[in-house]
Amino acid sequence: MPATEAEPEAEAVLTVTGLEAGYHGIPVVRGLDLQVRAGEVVALLGSNGAGKTTTLMTVAGLLAPLGGSISFDGESIGGVAAHRLARRGLSLVPEDRALFAELTVRENLRLARAKTGSERDVLDLLPELTKCLDRKAGLLSGGEQQMLAVGRALVTRPKLLVVDEMSLGLAPVVVERLLPVLRRVAVGFGTGVLVVEQHVTLALDVAERAYVLAHGRLVLSGTAAQLRDQPDLLTASYLGDAVRAAPST
């Protein structure tokens, strides 16, 4: 799918400036600057332990930031509890999906549904869920669970959807089916999407822009097209090369 540039004037839903994030006061992510605009998909890439998940957890309010600022929808949100952020329209799909295994698919969706939202358009987007609406979430296959996790995040009508490692533990064919859904979410609902992904080529197919983290620092950023065209640069950045923006080709 060709990546299209988001309108330059589209407003930023998420602006992260100089973020320091980590555990027990020890920073893992240092000095991260990042922006996600409404209606665009942004990929956060990097090798294991680069600080991608820590960044997402901090953005979603599950970890308190150690420094820097996070602004969501024009308001500073550093340290705001996760459930308040979720109500304000920031929805995280965590790595372990955090589904309610004992509730059915329908109940999972109904519980998350925003007052104005409906399950209908989400089911249109993820028609596979329609046939297992009355099955307990714990009994679904990995791919179906991931769809439900995304679906459950979408029924909250988020302004920003944050997805961690969507491809984890899933067959490539399922991943190829799922990742483009994010693109349609961004275009169809005008949602900003920030996605962490190990599967670099797939992520760059779906995303408009990407950031690469190594050892907790931003080492490369640019449009997906730029990064796709310069695999050597991408490899170098994975290995922790210096901070720079990808030169345009």
Binding site: A98, L103, A153
Partner: protein
Amino acid sequence: MTSYVLFLLLGLGAGSVYSLLGLGMVLKYRSTGVVDFAQGAIAMWGAYVFLRLRLTGKLELPWFALPHEISLGTGMAIVPALLITLVYGTVLGLVVFFLVYRPLLRAAPLTKVCASVGVTLFFEAVAVLNFGTTATSAPPVLPSKAFVISGVVIPGDRIWIAGIVVAIAVALTVTFRYTRFGLATRAGAENEMGAALIGLSATRIAARNWVLATLLATLSGVLITPISSLDPTSYTLFVVPALGAVLIGRFESFWITTAAGLGLGIVQSELVKLQTVFTWLPQQGLSDGVPFLIILVTMSLAAKRLGARGATGTLRNPSLGRPTRPGATALLAFAVGVVVLVALHGSLRAAFMASIVTVCLALGLVVLTGYVGQVSLAQMSFAGFGAFVLSHLGHSVGMPFFLALLISALSAVPLGILMGLPALRVRGVNLAVVTLAAAAAMDALVFSSVKFTGGLGGRKIGSPELFGLDLGIAKGNSYPRVVFGVMLLVVVIGAGYCVARLRTSATGRMLVAVRSNERAASAVGIRVAPVKLYVFALSAFLSGLGGGLLAYEQSSVSSSTFTAQASLSLLALVYVAGVGRIAGAVVAGIMFASDGLFVSFLDKTLHVGQYQTVVAGIALALTAIQNPDGVASNMAGERGPGPRVAALRDRIIPRRHRPVVLDVPGQDGAFVEDVAGPTPVSRA
């Protein structure tokens, strides 16, 4: 036939109480994972509030010493009194939740149980202080007019109360299945992070459920009083049958819990009738005991159906100690113990002796709950059994005390193994409740036997003798005698030494392996079932030993010492003190035991006197919140006194082993292999 129907209907009263309390407990468990033993105490408090409002128009506040009554005029009618009581219940639920359970939401289940025992003690003690211990009867709340249908007299109030219970159960079932609130509660309990990610606050959901459950407790208090007279302690005991119903409902189903509660009440009532028909039936304890036997047996057999939260992995294990140099520690402890015995006099010396006995009882839990992670709420039943066996042995003249003590301790072992059987199939909180049922059955069936326990007055115990030497706690005017204390020290420190050696032995490693992961343990060739039975047997032995010592210490033995409540308190004390360590047992005995050294000292210096139980309740809940892993774990930490005490011990009794000096070529220093790890030393 009609009289059987009448007894059935009468049983609905008690059954409704169990169901109502049980429903509240299911609600609390499903939303917060707390098995709230304080539900009965809250019901009792609610009953007092309602009763005082009706009779005197005064609103009772749950504290003591300060003014605790607000006058709202003269006696009230039922409706306004009920409304005020329910509002009161709402506030009470919120306060208790945010003060006690909110800080413990992520704590281990047993820590929560300890806090709930603290809450129970608090309310019981405040009620005793403010209302006295005399039972009060209350005017009827529900229409009590009896009506007759085809010759059967039907007591109206029983039908009403049962109807209310069923209606509440239906309402709860529907709410949990079909409303957003119910869905949110189920979701929040299952996956707190998932709930937060869709905008639900798990804390808020838990708080709402807690309030709802507190309202149920209050309501049950209000409804019970006209049926069963009100006093501070008996209501808290309703928790035991209620828990039985909850267990049958698997901590999950409202309507099964309700049916089980009603069923229990009916069975108890019919047993009373049967006792009048078949006079050969035991006349004591039958109606109280049999339902628990039923619970015990069905739960052990139907264990596969048990599941929910308590099933696997939810019992987070407390941290374990690893004793170093048990021999030297035991010697030193003995020396310190003798010095303390000689230095103290009168009531403080007696309190120190009580502490030593508690240490022995606590050791049983260290082995069982600490080392193998099995929960038992029947430890005092083992102790009681041992003590009563000792009281019977004492009459056979000439038996050296240690032999009598050994036999009495051994007599508890078969009971321990019996209790271990359910543990082969049930885990965690479910096991706790099953053992509680067993303890309640023991209370009702064994300890109520006048022949075995001597009835209310209990049985006298002769002085321990060794080759003609009287080691008793009292002789003539001298009480308490040092020689008795020395005997206690020898026995208990000996037991502690054995436990320490067990912990570091190959068997000890097997125990800890089973605690960590039963499947992994069997994968490396450990047979889990025998290990569990072994540890239950050992724990029962230590408890029996403690029971025997307790009997010697008190010179008599009475069944009121060994109730299920006492077992619950013991577990709470030892858990908060640090159940994974022998030091925890010592802390429990010296610091926490209600008749122990520290509490008696406080009593003597600060004159806590009548407030002792209230303070104990608050202290227990606070300690559980502050030290979720036990006081002894904190003490053993780097900043605690543990390492310093160990260093002092090593200075007084230096290590005698020869260091192995490893010569490392090319290095300036050699390394000495030591228990504490390699230490560089300079080459001689």
